[in-house]
């Protein structure tokens, strides 16, 4: 290793330290922005170090790639709406996967190849490929370019098993005969197909789990590519991302009281057959009456769900929140971990509307306070506030931790119609004695309340 080589390796060490320190600063909202900046500096350092490598004799194609990628990346980052963050993250997971696939495939031609390197090449192609197509399907479902429902067909399990066997067989053959490029193409094609097959049976409501998992895979693919080209920084950065995605996946699964294999292998649609008989009647309320109740309230808890994002209601929610506070009322937000289509989705939307983050309470913080709350306002959330999760043992979501809005003195549910949630589960909340339904578009209903106040 020459002096340049040593400098490059040292730069990678510093870059890794910056990534780690950046993630550490992400532990608090007050320091997070600085953390992201440090992480970006680390990345810049790693890229510069890679560029001064003496093995690089031609820069034009690197430059072309960087300019194209930089322009697309910058434009997307500026233009994307906060409601569309899940789609953007899904798409970026896919790009990361594809990049690792390409690096893995290119590494085959570049260096010496013992069995260990061949295995890691297979892994980077396999994980990268399935992350790519899996993410594209997830993107399609999230942006509703394709149906967001679970696609299942008879014999799906058999087809998928055969696919796994075919991948294993091609992988073994590839390691035995690396010179025969047929096996390489087979692995690429099969892993791309596998990504599609793995994500189509998963419904839209389970997307928080899927994009967390694909996030993890995009890191693991980078990690495998690091092994294939013998590069430390790829391994360190890739495994940090891999760990991050796995933790988020676990949190999401726990918040839905389901195992990961249950999310991945059984379409949620199949459980809707479990009928629950709900007693009581639906009691609608007018905007005017809702205003009188809110005007008298001293404590309000707002529980948002994906419906708030769809209705783009976060700004009017903030406005209502300010009016209530001026009226001497304490307002808090209760955020369920799986509210929205990705982890933390609601928090970003509310932050965009200038709601301070210390007003956003996690489920475990808001639940003990619920009995002292005068009015709980549910905006476009359904399954995450369903008391059947506590009370009805036959319910498919029984055992799932929910926000106990029904324990508040009064509950307002803002809802477009009486259609049930994604999971197709009856919600006894709507029939409770203390529940009032405020039908209509969430944005218009809240707009109406604001007009009543002023």
């Amino acid at each position: 290793m020459g002096a340049t080589g040593l400098a490059i390796q040292l730069a990678f060490v510093v870059a890794a330290a910056l990534f780690i320190f950046g993630l550490k600063l992400l532990g608090s909202a007050a320091t997070a922005r600085k953390g992201n900046l440090l992480s970006a500096v680390g990345m810049l350092l790693a890229i510069v170090a890679a560029l001064i490598d003496q093995g690089i004799v031609e820069f034009q194609w690197i430059l072309v790639g960087m300019v194209i990628g930089g322009v697309i990346g910058a434009a997307t980052a500026r233009l994307v709406q906060m409601t569309s963050m899940p789609e953007m993250v899904a798409l970026f997971n896919g790009f990361g996967g594809m990049a690792s696939l390409l690096v893995g495939a290119a590494a085959l031609g570049a260096g010496d190849s013992n069995t260990f390197i061949l295995v890691t090449i297979v892994l980077s192609i396999l994980i990268g490929g399935l992350t790519f197509t899996g993410s594209l399907v997830a993107y399609g479902k999230l942006s509703e370019k394709i149906g967001s429902g679970a696609v299942t067909f008879s014999g799906q399990q058999v087809v998928n098993s055969l696919l796994v066997l075919a991948i294993l067989a091609s992988a073994v053959m590839f390691c035995l005969e690396p010179a025969n490029s047929m096996w390489l193409y087979a692995i690429i094609a099969l892993s791309l197909l596998f990504g599609i097959m793995a994500v189509i049976p998963i419904g839209g409501a389970d997307m928080p789990v899927v994009i967390s998992l694909l996030n993890s895979y995009s890191g693991l693919a980078a990690c495998a590519a690091g092994f294939a080209i013998n590069n430390n920084i790829l391994i360190v950065a890739g495994s940090l991302v891999g760990a991050s995605g796995i933790i988020l996946t676990q949190i999401m699964c726990k918040a839905m009281n389901r195992s990961l294999s249950n999310v991945l292998f059984s379409g949620f649609g199949s459980v809707s057959s479990a009928e629950t008989v709900v007693e009581g009647e639906i009691k609608p309320i007018s905007v005017e009456d809702a205003f009188y109740v809110l005007e008298a309230a001293t404590s309000v808890a707002i529980v948002p769900g994906y419906g708030m994002a769809v209705a783009q209601a976060q700004h009017v929610v903030k406005e209502l929140c300010e009016l209530l506070e001026e009226n001497g009322c304490e307002v808090n937000f209760g955020i369920h971990p799986v509210a929205g289509r990705m982890p933390g989705h609601m928090n970003v939307l509310l932050a965009e509307a200038d709601v301070p983050y210390d007003q956003l309470l996690e489920m475990d913080e808001i639940n003990p306070r619920m009995e002292t709350v005068d009015v709980a306002i549910v905006i476009g959330a359904n399954d995450v506030v369903n008391p059947a999760a506590r009370e009805v043992e036959s319910s498919p979501i029984y055992g799932m931790p929910v926000i106990n809005v029904d324990k508040a003195r009064t509950v307002f549910v803002l809802k477009r119609s009486m259609a049930s949630g994604f999971a197709g589960i009856e919600n006894p909340l709507f029939y409770k004695e203390n529940t009032r339904m405020l039908f209509g578009d969430a944005k218009e209903s809240i707009g109406g309340l604001i007009r009543e106040f002023s």
């Binding site: 780690i20 950046g22 993630l23 909202a29 997070a32 922005r33 990345m43 890679a50 690089i56 004799v57 031609e58 194609w61 072309v64 790639g65 960087m66 990628g69 930089g70 697309i72 990346g73 910058a74 980052a77 994307v80 906060m82 953007m88 993250v89 970026f92 790009f95 990361g96 594809m98 990049a99 690792s100 390409l102 690096v103 290119a106 590494a107 890191g219 693919a221 590519a225 690091g226 590069n231 920084i233 790829l234 391994i235 495994s239 991302v241 760990a243 991050s244 995605g245 933790i247 988020l248 955020i335 990705m342 982890p343 933390g344 928090n347 932050a351 200038d354 983050y357 210390d358 996690e362």
Partner: protein, 93 residues
Amino acid sequence: MEAVFLTFILMLSIFLGFELINKVPATLHTPLMSGANAISGITVVGAISLAGTGQHDIAQWLGAAAVALATINVVGGYMVTDRMLAMFKKRGK
């Protein structure tokens, strides 16, 4: 020996990753994911060394394509994360 050494790094960084990410509060999970997108763009480092060999073979073209894709992640990921984190404000500010 190289393989063992790399696996050792892998093991340590996975444990480190778990420790770090467990401390990230739920309110920051979306920026965490987009930031992770950016970090997974580290593949660009590998792609650069493949795209600059000057051999005009298939590996170079694959490398150049990988540079473009990974750069989307790096630039887009860090920028959008910054955009989001700038919106997070404490009460009374």
